[in-house]
Amino acid sequence: MSAETKPKAELYKRVDALWAVVREQVAFLRRDPLAFASMVIAGAFVFLGVFGPFLAPHDPIEYTIRSDTGSVLQLASPSMDAFFGTTAFGKDVFSQFLAGARPTLIVGLFGGLGTGALGFTVGVVSGYYGGWVDELLMRLTDLTFSLPFMPMALLLLTFMTPNIWLITAIIVAFLWKMPARVVRSEVLSVRERTFVKSARASGASDLRTMVYHVAPNVLPIGFLYTAYGVAWAVAAQASLAFLGFGDPTMTSWGRMLRQVFESGNIRVAWWWVLPPAIGIAAITTSVFLIGRAYEEVINPEIQTDQ
């Protein structure tokens, strides 16, 4: 093996190993039809999030749909001109639906990943080091628990102009506590396991032990909470947007719902309500279902009779 190929081969091995872990982790999908269906929905959602804005036939905000006579088609039910009908100001609901997937995806994905990653890191560090580090971090989670998320988020968003990254950051800042606690308690039990002691006995540093021995063994819980984090983040983002604290520059599903609700049109414009509402419900539910199916697999206690 030449000196050059070695790191490469090493890299491949790493990637391979990582891939194997992921494959191993999603193997449950094959067995659980519900989880599989959810995965399909989640996949469709990611597709929408990435390509939706390009697929939208019109600009969701600026383009106005007009009738043949040139007048604006306000609150028109679905037709060939507008598959999902139009809004009170003649905007294309279909285009808004397509474009609205993106902020939902961005906040969901990054909010979820951020929540998972931050919570995971805090949980591992806190659980592994114990002592005052633990005490400090856990009090911090207590604090974030006692600061009510919704009101605090609303307050923060009143003095900072909302944009999706800010919203993502706020969501992460409030949700990391959930995985942190669970991961920590998991780490506490992993830390006591013999192989960790054994790693120490063979001279591994704290960092090495934490990274190679503790972290990989709580990773599934981390994954699980990342999945839940995605669902929470989507829900939180939609809720904030619904209350009027969403990113005003982007069309999002939550914001669409706010506009129907605010404009007093839910009673009539079902075509305007259903797409975003079903979109949000479908994505949060499927992420949750995937998480749950996964939990079933990783939680040995509830799989006792298999």
Partner: protein, 597 residues
Amino acid sequence: NSSRGESLEPNVPDGVPETVETKYWREWETVDAESPPLEYSATAGSVLDRVPVEYSSEDDPWMREHALMVKRGLNDLGVDVTLDDRPLNQLYAQSWTANGLEAVISMSSQGPDPQRGLDPNPLLMRATEESLSNYDNYYHPELQDILTEQAQTTDRAEREELVDQAQEIFAEDIGAIITLFPNIITAVNTDRWSGYVETPGNGQTMDSFVWTEVNLQPETDNRTYVKGVSTSMNSLNLAWAAGGAEAKRLTFIYDGLFDATPDLDVVPALATGGGFVDDTTVELTLREGVEWHDGEPFTAEDVKFTVELYDEYASTSQVPFYEPIDSVEILGDHEVRFNLANPDAAFMTQRVVRSVILPKHRWEDVGNPSQHNPDSPVGTGPFEFENWEQGTRFEASRNDGHWMFDDDWRNDALGDQAESGPGVDTVVWLNVSNVDALIGSLQSGSIDAVGTNLSDLQANRAANSEGIEKMSAGSYAPLIMKLMFSCPLIRDKEFRVALAKSLDSKGFVEDFLHGQATVPTGENLISSLTQWHNPDTTDYSYDVDEAETILEQAGYTWDGQGNLRFPNGDAWGAFVERIQPENTNQRRTELQQGDFS
């Protein structure tokens, strides 16, 4: 500043700066900032930076459409725009610190506050230097003088003359862009009641005036009139209320010294006559035989007490009334004299109208009136307080002896709209959480009228039901697009004119408001509904081609992609000249500049 498109190499005449930043061009009394919160610079030959335009979609449901209209207009000129949808409070917050606008263009619709319809001052005086509301840093020396003068001219005719001039100057100079005066649209049940009175800025059912309620006649046995509203009163303390709803609804209970008719004419109320005796002295005779709802007689004492109380405890909602009053003297049981600090032309047309007089015997023992929430407010008004439940309902009953219920009196005040009959007995305001529910309640008969502004579509939807009709009334409250005058681009009058000509307000009103708005002739703040309107103002009518020509002649150019560029070379020199403080109110030709096209 990285510019888009290809800019030209700056080519600058001697002694002319290559770049001009946004800055304060005058010392501003009301502004303490070192520099404006906006950063926008003009550089010779460079493509214009994106122009930030702010609005708040909370302001009006259609505000975003309006902003998009502005965006289209600017795009047509080759100017890119960043639309900034800001929370309403943030839009307001700029005025709190008063450092100026954060955007080049900032649009917001004004509330139809009765004061704004009665006198030109509330809107016009903002163009003066001393006004706290002048955070767009607009300054026009001539206008400044005229406005200061008219504010002290108590002679009506003289004043009207000055006000007309002011409107002309403002419109010609494009001190701001006034796109439209949106109508007030509501829906009412006409099967049960007749006699809805159309009042400008107030429609038939809003709460700034009581005309509809005193004029309504039942078509059925039921004499309780129920109005659904979506904003709730927060307290029963009219004078120290921070919100708008209580200041309006509680005027049903109280009377002012004078009142205004649906034609925005001043009519007597608690005061029956009087006026300026000299520039700073006003003497009024008060109505006799008036009783407070608790039976106590109303006297001059009450007026004096009220003004002093407001002044001592800084009433928030009655500022316009007591602000100019230096002292009050009682000349007799029913006669008072106000000594004003300065001559104030608006005193008789605006300030004493809709002023609220409190009963002394009720308020004199209140410790801190600003934190007082009377259990049951007592006034002299056409309605007596019955009960109030915050966020739920407010109820008032007819004060039968009140002069407004006198048919003759009403005939005088309302003209054609007056109707006679038994009238209402009780008025109930019900809080309904949203528009959807309001319409539903109106259709189901739970309420008789909607006291909230609806969109045309919604009103039509409501009117689909038997017995429900859409009501629409004009308004004197404009949508103002403030322009940041410290920004070099805005300081160029040629650009302002092009901007005004690029906006298709009429098309917008047709498309999105179904014609339910008035588009003014030019940039006139004063609506044709008021008595102060000047119809002969400069109208820069919608014409994009012409706008382009104007820009071209002023030296602006376009790059290959059609992006607008600042003038270059000599034209840049002319541009810099135009934006100097002494020239910013003048056109190119007035300055003897050539045609650069």
